[in-house]
Amino acid sequence: MKPPPLRIHRPTSIDQTLDLLSEHSVSGKVLAGGQSLVPVLNMRLAAPSDLIDITGVSGLDELTVSGPEGQQEIAVGATVTHRQVERSVDIARANPLLAEALRFVAHPAVRNRGTTVGSLAHADPNGEMPMILALTGGSVDVRSRRGIRTLSAEELNVGPLETCLESDELITRAIFPALPAGSRAGFDELARRSGDYGLAGVGMIVDVEDETVTGLRCGFISVTDIPEVLDLGEVVSGTQIDEVAGVVSRVVDAVRDFIDPGGDIHATADYRRHLAGVIASRLFRRLCRTDNARIQGAQVHTAGNDAGNGTDTGADAGSGTGKGIENDTGRRRA
């Protein structure tokens, strides 16, 4: 048995969960899908005395798109798996960024158990979901015996693997706003192996009105400590979408100035900085293509990214030729 000795509690209501969290606030930990926590336990990097398994708690399985057209919100309860989010046609229509980024989260077998809210609580700077929450201006609802509060992504994320949550608090759900009409969004990352942590990844939202770019926001994975959003509206606003080639280099420079990658055995900091710029450049050009006005619901992905694509785009990034990421998303099964 690899995990350290521990006791597993299986509450069935939110009230019971909050009682248990309050009682075991010193060394208790919430367990949902366990796809990040159990590896940590198996490697004995953590040894909580009590795990509170919330998968049987009623009222945490909400997965809805609600609100008036144009102001819709996606609510994802704490026990909803990545796979459920990824497979929801309503969510893909309201905010295609979620499904597009989710297909980079490990592999289907991991997404079948892992929860989206769990990823937010884990706050891994290599994680896709914390960045998507920040980039889309989302928030989380948090409960404890002491009350209820709503935290923005900025408030939630304090540092790498660190949130502002108190030990007796539970994220009950996350709220991702729908993308506004006229905005175009995309996500891409490069990893050494299919489903592995990205060496660098970029999420991007481009606002377009009357064929003119009016806004640009970027979020990053693996190259910033916390998921901060870079607003490049001033750099690109007013550019016609068929003339963005002229501002791409300024976008890339701004991205490379903003991020703060670390180097490790897999890639140097300089290489990650280079990759982030390449990915941002490709995404920006793809999203600004005149034929890339958002086709709602067109980006529902049901399968994981494959090694072939990763290698392909990796070699591409090295040579700096702009082969289309658009193919990568366009050819997937809807």
Partner: protein
């Protein structure tokens, strides 16, 4: 193992594996992969990396492939678990996915094979006619150090073909 019981938290659990109900006393910390192998002697489920990367321990939970090394047996209660033995347990009469591995020479040492079989068994229900690219993607979460994957990718497509033929019979 037995010495641990009594000195750490344990639970009496009910597990349904390959359609058979079991009642077991296990330490809370015991992973599903270890309970399958040690307590139920279903040693077809292999344990490789034990942190979710290699895919050798993949089983189906309510029909979906999951890593049994990333799940406590206690939390598998209330779900139906299917291991490679549940896919097919008769060498004289292999299941379609197993036959496909034989047909395509999709295994060499065989250590990773049970994880591939459980993954593919679920996948071809989801996608009955995968392209080569989709087949490759479907097994991208399973590592094999022998084959170089080409024959496994072929086996995915062959398995889909065999299942379709089986459904027509």
């Amino acid at each position: 193992m037995t010495a641990d019981i009594g000195t750490e938290p344990t639970s009496t659990i009910r597990l349904s594996v390959n359609g058979v109900p079991h009642v077991l006393d296990v330490p809370d910390r015991k992973l599903l992969s270890d309970v399958l192998r040690q307590d139920l002697e279903l040693t077809g489920t292999h344990v490789g990396c034990e942190h979710g990367v290699c895919g050798a321990c993949t089983v189906q939970l309510d029909g979906d492939p999951v890593r049994s090394c990333l799940m406590f047996a206690v939390t598998a209660q209330g779900h139906e678990i299917k291991t490679v033995e549940g896919v097919g347990d008769d060498p004289e009469n292999p299941a379609d996915v197993q036959q496909a591995f034989i047909d395509c020479h999709g295994l060499q040492c065989g250590f990773c094979t049970p994880g591939f079989v459980t993954t593919i068994d679920a996948y071809i229900d989801e996608n009955p006619n995968p392209t080569e690219e989709e087949a490759r993607e479907a097994v991208s979460g399973n590592l094999c150090r022998c084959t170089g994957y080409q024959n496994i990718v072929s086996a995915v497509q062959r398995a889909a073909q065999l299942r379709a033929e089986g459904a027509r019979l």
